[in-house]
């Protein structure tokens, strides 16, 4: 018991001496990367038939989940800082922020990431948290994981029809698969203190630019539809932009 009493003051001492060093300016801190969503600047409200796509079709959104991986911060000297891990953004679960600790304060020339998983990461069943979220992509379609699930209803001559815009590996022919992830490169930003960088997804862009999406052609059973998968890939490239830093 005596020993124990001795230890306590020793601890206090250590804490105090740590405190004295606080005047040194930190050179790195936590960067929070927050994903925000809009429809041509309109706020996203679930379950309401209040969006119109470029084809003129009215639709609602009931679910949106997507996977972001390999986030990289780019430095002026062409070096870069990779941020480990991935985030399954889920609007229903309000899972919207990726946290990157110990990021050096710096002037970054860009931020890039992979939408989905690239071939090195898209390993069937490899991630327990994604398996627990039933995020898997069927092995008959190439396996691995979904990249996105965007679901809702659209209006078609007076009736509501479902759509399920699910993206993942593209199956060209039975047993023949094509990678379907894409890279997103955003502008540079100044990171001088712990802060949140906002990334905007304009959901309307999934339905246009370069190609207008006709829900009457592509509404359901899109996972095994090669053309639909490729169209998602080209349309997806314009959905993200850099927002405010705060």
């Amino acid at each position: 018991m005596k020993f124990l009493k001795l230890i306590v003051p020793l601890f206090l001492f250590v804490f105090i001496s740590c405190g004295d060093d606080d005047t040194i300016q930190p050179t790195s801190g936590e960067l929070s990367i927050q994903f925000n969503h809009n429809w041509n600047r309109k706020e996203i409200e679930f379950n309401e038939q209040n969006f119109t796509n470029a084809f003129g079709q009215e639709l609602s959104i009931t679910k949106l989940r997507y996977l972001i991986s390999d986030i990289v911060l780019h430095l002026p000297d062409n070096n870069s800082i990779p941020i480990d891990g991935y985030i399954l953004v889920d609007l229903n679960e309000s899972n919207l922020i990726a946290y990157a600790p110990n990021i050096p304060f710096n002037n970054y020339t860009g931020l890039s990431f992979t939408f989905g998983f690239d071939e090195n990461d898209n390993l069937d069943g490899a991630y327990p948290d994604l398996n627990s979220a039933s995020w898997n992509w069927p092995s008959m379609l190439g396996g691995g994981y979904h990249f996105m699930q965007l679901e809702g209803k659209y209006e078609n001559s007076g009736t509501e029809n479902p759509y399920a815009y699910h993206m993942g590996t593209a199956r060209k022919n039975p047993g023949e698969f094509e990678q379907n992830y894409f890279n997103v490169a955003l502008d540079g930003f100044n990171f001088t203190q712990e802060s949140t960088i906002n990334i905007q997804m304009n959901i309307a862009e999934w339905f246009t630019n370069p190609q207008n999406w006709d829900l009457e052609v592509y509404d359901i059973d899109l996972m095994m539809n090669y053309d639909a998968q490729k169209l998602m890939n080209v349309n997806g490239k314009s959905v993200f932009s850099l927002g405010e830093i705060n």
């Binding site: 124990l4 069943g125 039933s134 898997n136 069927p138 509501e160 399920a164």
Partner: protein
């Protein structure tokens, strides 16, 4: 490191002959996590303040099977949650002690520690297994009892006072301890030894029919069951999320909507696991389907449209995906390969009284 040295100091105090208060510690009894679970999904939820112990599980098991918790000592949890039915019952609606019927089908109990969001019941209205167990005891159309009276009954029962002491030490018996013990027992009810599990572990070969049924389950244009009911990498065979799977055009039971008050949640119920369907008929929250064939016919051609129907019930315009007869029977064969007879026959899970 620090922790061990502190323990060491306490120990040496004892050697000096100074008496220190040593709280009673029951024997830790960590869950045995099946390989398919530890390999594929994240760890189960065990509350900080209710660790699994040998004595707690024993007590919980005894309580689960003992009618002492009901108003007239006639009904135990196991009356509506029987081992041979994978801890569900065979009735559409279960009878409480006064002969009243509820409006929902009893739910099976297995792998509940992996319900990560901890929303229990068909509508998710109970948070955590411990809280869930408060409800049936007090429910007037179920065990219709009073927790105060139950605590007295148990405190005046020599065997139970001893078992409570062993499980929790010298603490007054109350609803919290009772539900903690029952929850500990329920967390041990793990099912992971179906033919399909054995197939994944490479110890059994499935029939071509079962394998084809699995392909239908995973095929977006046919079964498309996997978006809500698990897959080969998610051995729970449920997402534990709330959906409207197209049972009704108008709702008599609002399900999740009654809990949240949001009309967009009306008619949504938690996806049940597809394990052990061989033992859990009838099916759905109101037990409306007596057989698996009826369930499959529902998804194939019986879907009812409504404003909250899940978009994954894609072919609702045609009543469903219109499976062929051979697809239906293969799908059924696959579903039955998820049943686990070793679970319902496990001697550790039977009535100890």
């Amino acid at each position: 490191m620090l922790f061990t040295s502190v323990l060491l100091f306490l120990w040496s105090c004892d050697e000096d002959g100074i008496t220190t208060y040593v709280p009673y510690e029951p024997t830790p009894f960590p869950l045995e996590i099946p390989k398919l679970f530890s390999d594929n999904i994240i760890d189960p939820v065990i509350p900080f303040d209710n660790p699994q112990t040998v004595e707690g599980v024993n007590l919980g098991r005894k309580l689960f099977f003992d009618p002492i918790l009901s108003g007239d000592n006639s009904q135990s949890c196991a009356d509506c949650h029987a081992p041979e039915n994978a801890f569900s019952d065979a009735d559409r609606f279960s009878e409480g002690i006064n002969g009243d019927l509820g409006t929902r089908n009893s739910m099976p109990i297995f792998n509940l520690a992996w319900n990560y969001d901890e929303n229990f019941f068909w509508d998710g209205r109970a948070f955590s297994l411990e809280n869930q167990a408060l409800e049936p005891v007090a429910n007037p159309i179920e065990m219709h009892s009073d927790w105060k009276i139950n605590a007295e009954k148990l405190a005046n029962h020599a065997e139970y006072t001893e078992l409570f002491y062993q499980a929790f030490g010298n603490v007054k018996i109350d609803s919290t301890l009772v539900t903690k013990a029952i929850a500990q027992f329920q967390r041990t009810l793990i099912s992971a030894n179906s033919r399909f599990d054995q197939h994944l572990l490479g110890t059994t070969t499935l029939t071509p029919q079962e394998l084809n049924g699995f392909n239908i389950f995973m095929d977006e244009s046919r079964g498309d069951c996997f978006h809500c009911h698990g897959n080969a990498n998610n051995p729970l065979w449920t997402d534990n999320i709330f959906h409207n799977n197209g049972l009704d055009a108008t709702f008599t039971d609002l399900g999740l909507g009654a809990k949240t008050g949001d009309p967009a949640d009306n008619g949504k119920f938690r996806s049940p696991s597809l394990r052990n369907l061989a033992f859990t008929a009838p099916f759905m929250h109101d037990g409306r389907f007596a057989t698996l064939d009826e369930v499959i016919n529902h998804y194939s051609e019986g879907l009812q449209n409504s404003s909250t129907i899940d978009p994954l019930m894609k072919a609702v315009g045609n009543g469903g995906v219109q499976l062929s007869e051979s697809d239906k029977s293969d799908l059924k064969a696959f579903l039955l390969s998820l049943s686990d007879p070793t679970f319902i026959n496990n001697p550790e899970f039977q009535d100890p009284n």
